[in-house]
Symmetry: C2
Subunit: 237 residues, 2 copies
C-alpha cells in the first residue's frame, strides 16, 4: 500500500531520489556495505537525468550515508557518519535565549610578551606581544561562565586600544575579525584559582572547560578557555 515510500514515482527531483534511497537503506534493501547501481541505471529507474541522481547521491555522501569512489562505485556506509554538530552561540545569545538577563564583567586585562607555553600552544614566537583578558558572564547575576582569553596583537592590532570594559572580547572579536579555521576541544577539570573564585565554587569541583583556538589565514588570532558552571550541558543538534 505504502509503496510510494520505497519506489520511484514520475516527476522525480533530487529530493525524491534522496528520500527513496534513504528508505532503501533504512529498510535494509541496501544494507550497510551494499553497492548501489551506477548513476546511469538509477537515472533510468527514476526517470530523470544523471545530474539529478548525482546531486542526490552527492548530498547523501556528504551527510554520511554513502561512500563514493570513482570506478568502485557507490556503497552504503558500514558505519554511519558518527559526527555531531555543536552549535556554539555567543554567550549573550545563549543566556538571553533562556530568558535570563545577561551581564558582562571584566576581571583583568594585561598586555604582555607571550609566555613560552602560550607561544608554543598558539604557534607564536616567545615574547610576541599578546593581550591577556579574563572576564565573567552572568545570567540573572548568577555566575555562568569564566572566560580566560589570549589575543595575538599582531593579528588584531586594534585590540591593543580596546579596554573590554563594557563588551566581552568574544563579542568584540566576532564583529572585528573573520576566521578561516577554528579548533575546539572540551574537557572536565576541577575548579581552581580564579575560576573557582569567580564562579563561587569549592576547589576541585567538576566543571566543563571548552577551549577554542582560531586562525585567520594561518595567523593565530586568539586562544580562549571558557569554564562553565557545574551542571552545564553542551548539546549537539
Amino acid at each position: 500500500m505504502d509503496d510510494s515510500e520505497n519506489s520511484a514515482t514520475p516527476g522525480t527531483g533530487y529530493r525524491d531520489v534522496k528520500r527513496v534511497v534513504v528508505e532503501r537503506i533504512l529498510s535494509s534493501t541496501w544494507p550497510p556495505g551494499a553497492m548501489l547501481p551506477p548513476e546511469v541505471d538509477l537515472a533510468r529507474e527514476f526517470a530523470c537525468t544523471r545530474t539529478t541522481v548525482n546531486r542526490a547521491l552527492r548530498e547523501l555522501a556528504d551527510e554520511g550515508y554513502l561512500e563514493r569512489r570513482r570506478k568502485l562505485g557507490t556503497r552504503v556506509r558500514a558505519n554511519p557518519q558518527r559526527q555531531a554538530k555543536l552549535s556554539i552561540p555567543l554567550i549573550r545569545d545563549e543566556v538571553e535565549g533562556t530568558g535570563a538577563a545577561y551581564r558582562y564583567a571584566l576581571v583583568g586585562r594585561e598586555a604582555l610578551p607571550a609566555p613560552g607555553w602560550l607561544a608554543a600552544r598558539m604557534g607564536l614566537a616567545p615574547g610576541d606581544p599578546v593581550l591577556h583578558v579574563r572576564c565573567m558572564h552572568y545570567a540573572d547575576n548568577r555566575p555562568f561562565q569564566f572566560e580566560d582569553r589570549w589575543i595575538n596583537i599582531a593579528a588584531v592590532p586594534e585590540a591593543a586600544a580596546e579596554g573590554f570594559a563594557a563588551t566581552g572580547p568574544n563579542e568584540w572579536l566576532v564583529r572585528k575579525v573573520p576566521y578561516t579555521r577554528a579548533e575546539f576541544s572540551f574537557a572536565a577539570t576541577g575548579a581552581a584559582g580564579e575560576v573557582a573564585e569567580y564562579l563561587g565554587l569549592r576547589a576541585g569541583e567538576p566543571v566543563l572547560a571548552a577551549e577554542r583556538l582560531t586562525w585567520l589565514r594561518e595567523v593565530p588570532v586568539t586562544l580562549a578557555e571558557m569554564t562553565f558552571m557545574p551542571g552545564y550541558r553542551m548539546v549537539s543538534r
Copy 2:
C-alpha cells in the same frame, strides 16, 4: 601581483568561484551583511554558467558563509556559523588509533521494565521492556571509558538474545541498526558508584560524561552515557 587570489581567471570551476568569493569575504571586499551580485552577473564575471555559480554559492551557504533568499538575493552572514563538528569514532577505532591495544569487558547486563526516569527521558511508556548494559573499554589494559547503556527492546528485538560478552553494545548496534536522528550532549560530573569503581577513581574526581540518544524513525533506540578517564579531551575537526 597575486591577483589570482582575488579575481576570476578563465576556465573557472565551482571550486574557483568558492575560493574567490571566500577571499572577497575575508578581505572585506564583501563585508558582513553585504549583498552579492545576482548569480547571472557573477556567471558573466567568472565566465561560466549560472549552474556553476549556483553550486558554489549553495555550498558556501551550507558552510555558513552566506545567507540566500529568493528575490532578496545573497548576502554575507553577519555572524559566521559558529558550529563545530565533533567526530565521534567507535571506541575501538579511537583506542587503536593511538597505537594502544583495545580490550572490552562486560560489567553487567539485565533485561527489565523501563524505570520512570528512563521512560520519560527516552520517550517510552513506563514498564516497556529495556535492556540495561554496563561495560568497560580499556586501552593497553588501562581503563579508558565506562559505558552505561539502555536499549529499547521493541526497537531492536534481536538485542534480547545478545549477551554482549565479547562485543560491546555500541559496536553491535552500529552494525545492526541504522538511525535517523541522534542527540548528543556532554557535561562534567564527579565520578561516583560503578563509574569511580571501574575507572579506579576517587569519588568526586572530575570526569567528562557524554550522553547519546538515538532514534530510528521516531522510535527511540538507545540511550548511552559514556564516561571518560580524567584528562580526556574531546576535539573538534
